[in-house]
């Protein structure tokens, strides 16, 4: 029972982050902040949902000798999460870099300190 509750908490938290990244993707003003929302939110929420599924598998686990296939399923789910943890931020980074190379300028609010010029003058 404890595992079911724990997995429910993890999955619901993951879904909340999914909603957050979807809202950010729709509402943020420019390419870079949208990628920020999609990259960070997607990675974390997928990880949380997958961890929730892995924990859910534990509810039928009673002993290693007869229930070892469950451990196999958990290892597979964890392998998927490691894969997502590595690849999702990298793809966000590559997209972001491609956007910068293509000359997309970040939106800068009027009146706020503009460090873009001095930060990028030597590159």
């Amino acid at each position: 029972m404890i595992f079911v509750i724990l997995s429910a908490i993890l999955i619901v938290t993951g879904l909340v982050f999914f909603v957050g990244s979807a809202v950010g993707l729709l509402r943020f003003p420019d390419f870079y902040s949208r990628m920020h929302a999609a990259g960070k939110g997607d990675t974390l929420s997928s990880l949380l949902v997958l961890l929730g599924l892995a924990v859910y598998q534990l509810k039928d686990f009673h002993g290693f000798s007869e229930d070892w296939p469950i451990l196999l399923v958990i290892i597979k789910i964890l392998a998927i999460s490691v894969f997502i943890l590595i690849t999702s931020p990298t793809s966000t980074h590559a997209l972001m870099d491609a956007g910068w190379e293509d000359g997309i300028k970040p939106t800068i609010q009027k009146g706020s300190a503009n460090h873009l010029e001095e930060d990028t003058k030597d590159i």
Binding site: T87, A94, E101
Partner: protein, 264 residues
């Protein structure tokens, strides 16, 4: 313009003929269709036969694989040939063999401003971690097609995708240095030859084309059923070779407009 109109008419006629033919099909999953229920007084149900008898015939638990590679092996062989022909068509249309001197490329911003090449470090490290795993998993998918979803087409696409990832992350030259053009065309041909070779070997030993049961004395198996199982693995390997190399060939030709010397 006129050619486009003619092409549109041809496509419209072919499409409406196909749709007309679909109308006569039994609906999807219909238990009373001839394939599922059999013909009264005539042929028995073919679906029932596969479900109940395919394991006894082939000793392959995954009946999709046994249908695809054994009962319908002829069909799958020519599916592989279709993939091969698609790759060769793209080669024939796009490949520029006698290329003129390349005009010097205008220096892109990537070369001017990425001092430490941080992009290449991050993406390159990730690819180093990921590509071996993808290729190992592809081999698992090919070899495990008998027991779980998978097989030559899926595993071949995974291997092809790993090479495409290398070409995207580094550049096309790096990927081509691992699998260059003569080699990928050779491997694609070898894949089809493996598949057809199994069929011809069956004929030499006195069976029908792709009737793997007669390969028992060659493969040293316990019975004709295990010979079928092992031959299916053999033809899956042939399919995987063709599909993976043709995937990469299509990408390489499309991404470099047939010159194979620059990439995206």
């Amino acid at each position: 313009m006129l050619t486009k109109v003619i092409a549109f008419i041809a496509v419209a006629i072919t499409g409406s003929l196909l749709l007309y033919g679909v109308a006569d099909f039994p609906s999807f999953g219909d238990p009373n269709s001839p394939a599922n229920a059999g013909v009264e007084g005539g042929a028995p149900s073919i679906s029932q036969y596969f479900i109940t008898e395919s394991y006894k015939d082939t000793k392959v638990p995954n009946l999709v694989t046994s249908v695809l590679a054994d009962y319908r092996g002829y069909d799958t062989m020519f599916e592989t040939v279709v993939v091969f022909a698609g790759g060769m068509a793209i080669f024939a249309i796009l490949r520029v063999l006698r290329s003129k001197e390349e005009p010097p490329k205008p220096q892109s911003r990537a070369e001017t401003f990425v001092h430490g090449d941080h992009n290449r470090i991050i993406v390159g490290t990730t690819c180093k971690l990921v590509i071996p795993v993808i290729q190992l998993f592809a081999l698992y998918v090919i070899a495990h097609g008998h027991h779980s979803p998978g097989g030559g087409f899926q595993g071949g696409v995974l291997i092809g995708a790993s090479f495409i990832l290398l070409a995207l992350a580094a550049d096309l030259k790096t990927a081509l240095s691992r699998l260059n053009e003569p080699n990928y065309i050779r491997l694609a041909c070898i894949g089809i030859l493996i598949y057809a070779g199994f069929g011809v070997l069956c004929q030499i030993l006195g069976g029908n084309f792709l009737d793997y049961g007669v390969l028992q004395p060659v493969l040293f198996t316990d019975g004709p059923e295990m010979a079928r199982s092992h031959s299916m693995l053999g033809v899956e390997i042939g399919v995987a070779l063709t599909v993976s190399t043709i995937m990469f060939a299509i990408y390489a030709n499309l991404a470099s407009r047939g010159t194979l010397n620059e990439g995206l």
